[in-house]
């Protein structure tokens, strides 16, 4: 799962709605939710916030390495049945698209915001599609097809899930803080074999690789004492995957609701609690440990140590491209670092390696409701 901190970060638009109103119009994520597919790949308009995150590591035939991120957000604004115009603000849809040229050491990213309008953006079970303008994910023939176009870069991928969806948390809900409803419904596709093409600055590459999909929906937003979070999606070469996140509080401590999930080679999920793992920036004086953003001036730790005692797993996290910050142009959406990572370490004393994605938020400024 991703914490609802992330919801606030990315879905800052939610701030303007009084929480009471949100609760009146939207329902909280409660235990006992039964996932059903393909229905749950799509829209859950009864929940205020929902997102679909696609990230992955790709490689061309000649060894050129890339990372990508394509995310779709839906933020419920109003469920007033009197709105009859297509332009009514029922939801705001926004989307982020980034390509990391890991070999060429260049990072490209862009964003867009829309309302559903007359077919401008949306999520549709009947069309088997999630889209925001000409950025879309479409389900067809057992594939998820990703397409996105930006001014100087584009992506077109077909994804095949090698494992069934993994449901995070307990009894269908990923609890975020104490109290009923303070959680989300969260599942992932942790191993998506990918093939397709991408274009960067008029050059087209045929690529293959591994992608990861996160889908989460909920209504309850964040607690006020949190600063930001660090989130990892890891695909190891022993056909296992790992998702971990920790919430950093403003006082520097780690929130006990931090959690994770281990997925074994057969696709079985093991829920990890905060006490099961440790995430810490690498204390390695020799290498560059941090990267400072020239835009937001945030300092991001770009080398991490992961230790999961329960799995007897130790990993060193590095990135081939430190400058993978999505510095947003608009003041409504906070900036964050989201980038491709490489992993090396030991599992039960055997060497293990892998790739994945890391997301870090709250390094430029803490965010809280209404401060924009």
């Amino acid at each position: 799962m991703r914490t609802d901190l992330r919801a606030l970060g990315a879905l800052a638009l939610g701030f303007f709605l009084p929480l009471s109103l949100s609760f009146a119009q939207f329902q909280p994520a409660l235990p006992g939710y039964r996932f059903g597919f393909p229905r749950d790949y799509f829209n859950h308009p009864d929940y205020q916030t929902e997102w679909w995150y696609y990230t992955g590591n790709l490689q061309s035939l000649d060894g050129h390495k890339f990372g990508f991120e394509l995310t779709f957000f839906r933020q419920g604004v109003s469920r007033d049945p009197k709105q009859n115009s297509a332009w009514g603000l029922r939801d705001i849809y926004f989307a982020h698209f980034a390509l990391s040229d890991l070999t060429g050491k260049k990072f490209f990213h862009t964003e867009r915001t829309n309302r559903a309008g007359p077919g401008i953006a949306g999520v549709s079970l009947s069309l088997q599609k999630i889209w925001n303008g000409n950025w879309s994910v479409a389900w067809a023939d057992g594939e998820e097809r990703l397409t996105a176009f930006a001014d100087s870069f584009a992506l077109s991928l077909a994804l095949h899930s090698q494992k069934p969806p993994v449901i995070h948390g307990d009894n269908g809900v990923s609890q975020k803080s104490a109290g009923p409803g303070r959680g989300s419904h969260y599942f992932s596709e942790t191993r998506l074999s990918s093939s397709g093409s991408l274009t960067i600055e008029n050059r087209k590459y045929s690529v293959t690789g591994l992608a990861w999909m996160d889908h989460e929906f909920f209504t309850h937003q964040l607690e006020a004492n949190q600063m930001g979070w660090d989130w990892f999606s890891i695909q190891l070469d022993d056909h296992t995957e790992l998702m971990l996140f920790q919430i950093r509080r403003k006082d520097g401590s780690i929130d006990p609701f931090s959690a994770g999930t281990f997925v074994d080679a057969q696709g079985r999920a093991i829920h990890l609690r905060a006490s099961d793992f440790q995430l810490s920036p690498a204390q390695d004086a020799s290498a560059a440990e941090t990267w400072s953003s020239p835009v937001t001036h945030a300092r991001y730790p770009v080398r991490w140590q992961i230790h999961v005692a329960r799995l007897n797993l130790t990993l060193l996290v590095t990135t081939p491209l430190p400058s993978q910050e999505l510095a947003t142009r608009s003041s409504f959406v906070p900036s964050y670092w989201e980038g491709a990572i490489l992993l090396q370490g030991k599992k039960n004393s055997a060497a293990v390696a892998g790739s994945g994605y890391l997301e870090m938020t709250g390094y430029d400024r803490p965010f809280s409701v209404g401060e924009f």
């Binding site: 638009l13 303007f16 115009s85 332009w87 964003e111 867009r112 309302r115 309008g117 303008g133 000409n134």
Partner: protein
């Protein structure tokens, strides 16, 4: 070289200083002529170039625009957004609102502000203006979700949080100002709303008014390729054009109007040219002796020619130089007058900034100078070509005028015939070029004929008037006939101005009468209703259907007739498409058709078939005649219609296409009417019915305006008069210039004849007699000019009505004689001419007889 300069100085510049009043008058005439030309040019740009300027500002730099009659189906926005190109799609709602407190009509623009805030797409050329809107200090994103949020230009003097009451269609709506943006002192002002809010305010569902496409910068594909890509998701009836195409259409529509006004503005300059000609002629005649001496002492012909041309250039240059700032000043008033016309006849526009660009200024200056030199050419050449001996003798020119009288009359007749032939020719590129040539030829014919005419009248007047009015008038007649050349020029100048006034007066008077008669047959209902929101020729605010249904059931209402208008583009030109209810048996139709068919038979065809009737200007513009088939893009489809007939229409110069309400509803299903005509039951009290309607409107919170039939006609006539105010102003200036010329010329006459006048005094003439003589000369000049001008004007009016108007606008105007107006106009001019003689008369009276006799 110094010798030449000296010659020039002696011969030309010094005399100018000796007659400051006359020189000033001539310079002023040129200045006014140049000023009027420049003012019309500048005002034309400002009044017509600025329409929709705020809409243009808000659209930013775009490549294509998509429009459709009745609006573009909004799903197209989604379809375009999904195509795999990195283009920007900007949908827009366009309407008008009336600000309740200031009654200012402003464009109401709905934009997708969510997409804007996400910076995709960015619809402004001046993004900083929109940044301001979302400035954290002004308003926040949350305001977008509110249904009462508007953003306004600074010129509205509102601040964030202020309430803003707007009249939109037939509703009074209250909004809250969420942000203020810089709007260039009002020219770029619009009420900005989010799409959803704008649609709700204007009562639009499922449609947007325009979709802009901006293709990626640096894209290598051709524009045609992009057009093809967009076209694939567009239904048939939807138009894709280069962005700004509709603005260009509007500009084109205004081109003929501007062309006519511009030509009209040259009248003052032409009158000024006569005066220059006169001034230089006088100089030549007066300095004949000096020229002879200069030539005898070795000055070449070229030197003499150049000397006189230089004199003209000094006068013309000074006048033109003064004319430029004066023109800029006059443009301010001209813009207002012109704006009225544009609004009444074409489209809603708000006058923009007047910008005096160097090109216009130089053009006006050199036009003034050029006209001056051309007018001075003939007298200067004559001075240069006369042999020294001849030059020192007197009388040759006057003699030659007499000798060539028959020839001149023959020439005039030939020119008039040529003019008649030209008036039969078709327009060139939509402009009545030959019509104008015919008018010019007629003026030329009259100029050639005027010496003979003057001579003849003076002979008669010296016989008749002298007996009736005394010896002073005899002397005046003889004096005018004696200096025939000078007199003729003056008469030519003044009569041209009078002729123009007469011609335009007859045309406007006929037009007015035609409109008044037309309204009597076209406005049969007792009451007319329209929404209180901003009305204009190209805007069709609507009345809610519910209220119109209630209306029909009110006591005393016999029947109602609903009219709905749309702006469309027909074959690259703007046109108005309207539908009207034809199926109520209570309503008697009395429209007037070109074919002469009865209204009933034509309307029966409209009810039964896919048929339309088109207005006369539409028929003329597009060459569409009765029984033709036309194709209209309506909603998503293209449909063909038969033209049942062409009807007389004077309401607008935009072409009109009219069809049955039920037929149009098949294509454009929005049933809200733009206007409602109410027929009162026989025996019902109109005042009571009206009060009943107003009460019903109150109950339904419908803001409507009710006009009694007579009010509406009066309003129409007022609009008509306002429309032609600019032509009156132009004529007045031309007449003013001509009268100034008369004053100047009489002054010259007095100064030239001071010996003669002195002699008269010496022989016992009283100062009263002298005054009477000079005033009589002025009066005779005025009389001559008025008679000549009236004759010429009547012929010119025929060309104006049947050639120039018809070819420019397509209206059939029936000839009427506004005799009272013309007579009072000419009397005023005559009076002014007599008054113009007052100052020269005073000078003449003050002359010391002893001094002037001994002067030589």
């Amino acid at each position: 070289m110094s010798g030449r300069l000296k010659l020039f100085w002696r011969l030309m510049v010094k005399p100018l200083g000796r007659e400051p009043v006359r020189t000033t008058l001539t310079i002023a005439a040129v200045a006014l002529g140049v000023a009027v030309v420049l003012a019309m040019d500048l005002a034309g740009d400002a009044a017509t170039g600025s329409f929709h300027s705020s809409l243009e500002t808000l659209s930013g730099q775009q490549d294509f625009e998509i429009t459709a009659a009745g609006g573009v189906p909004e799903e197209i926005v989604g379809k375009l957004a999904e195509l795999p190109y990195d283009w920007r799609i900007t949908p827009r709602i366009e309407g008008f609102a009336l600000v309740a407190d200031s009654k200012r009509a402003l464009p109401l623009v709905g934009l997708d502000l969510i997409g804007v805030a996400g910076r995709i797409p960015l619809p402004l050329t001046k993004p900083e203006a929109l940044d301001k809107i979302f400035d954290a200090n002004q308003s926040s994103f949350e305001d977008l979700a509110k249904q009462d949020s508007v953003w306004v230009g600074q010129s509205l003097n509102k601040t964030c949080g202020d309430a803003l009451e707007l009249l939109v269609n037939d509703r009074a709506l209250t909004f809250t100002v969420r942000g203020v943006y810089p709007d260039d002192a009002g020219t770029g002002s619009a009420i900005l709303m989010d799409m959803a809010v704008a649609q709700a305010a204007l009562g639009i569902t499922g449609r947007v008014d325009r979709i802009f496409i901006r293709i990626p910068r640096g894209a290598t594909n051709s524009l045609d390729e992009w057009q093809r890509r967009a076209q694939q998701v567009l239904p048939q009836g939807v138009q894709l054009r280069a962005a700004g195409a509709s603005t260009d259409e509007n500009r084109k529509m205004l081109a003929a109007f501007r062309w006519n006004l511009r030509l009209l503005s040259y009248i003052a300059l032409i009158v000024g040219a006569f005066l220059i000609y006169n001034t230089i002629s006088v100089s030549v005649v007066r300095r004949r002796a000096e020229i002879g001496i200069a030539r005898a002492f070795g000055a070449s012909r070229l030197q003499v020619l150049l000397a006189f041309l230089l004199e003209a250039a000094v006068i013309g240059g000074a006048g033109a130089l003064l004319g430029v700032p004066l023109g800029r000043f006059l443009a301010t008033s001209a813009v207002k007058l012109m704006g009225n016309t544009v609004n009444a006849l074409y489209l809603s526009s708000r006058p923009g900034e007047i910008t005096l660009d160097p090109t216009s200024a130089f053009l006006a200056f050199f036009t003034g100078l050029f006209v001056t030199l051309v007018s001075a050419w003939s007298p200067a050449r004559e001075a240069a070509t006369s042999a020294p001996v001849e030059a020192m003798a007197r009388g040759r020119v006057e003699h030659s005028v007499r000798v060539n009288k028959t020839l001149a009359l023959g020439g005039a007749a030939a020119l008039a015939l040529l003019a008649a032939a030209m008036s039969r020719l078709p327009p060139v590129g939509g402009k009545p070029a030959f019509g104008y040539c015919a008018a010019l030829l007629l003026v030329a014919a009259s100029v050639i004929a005027i010496p003979a005419f003057t001579d003849a009248i003076m002979r008669i007047s010296s016989r008749i008037f002298s007996r009736l009015l005394g010896v002073e008038v005899l002397l005046a007649s003889r004096s005018l006939a004696g200096s025939l050349r000078r007199t003729s020029t003056l008469v030519a100048a003044l009569s041209t101005a009078v002729a123009m006034m007469t011609a335009v007066g007859i045309m406007v008077g006929s037009f007015r009468q035609t409109v008044v008669l037309w309204m009597a047959s076209e406005l049969p209902a007792d009451l007319y209703l329209r929404p209180a929101g901003s009305p204009a020729t190209d805007q069709h605010p609507t009345i809610s259907l519910g209220f119109s249904d209630q209306l029909a059931k009110l006591p005393g209402v016999l029947a109602i007739q609903r009219l709905r208008g749309y702006e469309i583009s027909y074959e690259g030109k703007p046109a108005t498409l309207a539908s009207v209810e034809l199926d109520d048996s209570h309503i008697e139709h009395s429209s007037d058709f070109l074919s002469g068919s009865s209204a009933e038979s034509v309307l029966a065809e409209l009810r039964e078939k896919n048929a339309v009737i088109v207005s006369e200007p539409f028929s003329y513009k597009h060459g569409v005649r009765r029984r033709d088939i036309i194709q209209l893009a309506l909603g998503e489809s293209r449909a063909t219609f038969r033209v049942a007939d062409v009807y007389y229409d004077y309401a607008s110069e935009r072409g009109m296409i009219l069809m049955d309400r039920n037929v149009l509803l098949n294509y454009l299903p929005d049933p809200a009417p733009s206007n409602i005509a109410v027929f009162i039951s026989p025996g019902a009290n109109p005042a009571n019915v009206r009060a009943e309607i107003e009460r019903a409107a109150d109950r339904a919170s419908a803001r409507i305006l009710v006009f009694a039939n007579s009010d509406l006609r009066m309003q129409a006539v007022q609009i008509f008069d306002r429309t032609f105010a600019i032509t009156y102003a132009l004529e007045a200036i031309a007449v003013f210039v001509a009268i100034m010329g008369v004053a100047g010329a009489l002054l010259a006459l007095v100064i030239d004849r001071r010996r003669e006048l002195g002699l008269l005094r010496y022989l016992g003439a009283s100062s009263g007699q002298l005054r009477k003589m000079i005033l009589a000369e002025a009066g005779l000049l005025g009389l001559l000019s008025n008679i000549a001008g009236l004759c010429l004007g009547i012929f010119l009016s025929l060309i104006l009505i049947f050639v120039i108007n018809k070819q420019s606008f397509g209206w059939t105007i029936r000839l009427h004689w506004p005799i009272a107006v013309i007579l009072s106009g000419t009397s005023l001019i005559w009076l002014a001419t007599v008054l113009a003689g007052w100052y020269p008369a005073r000078i003449a009276v003050r002359l010391n007889p002893v001094e002037v006799i001994h002067e030589d």
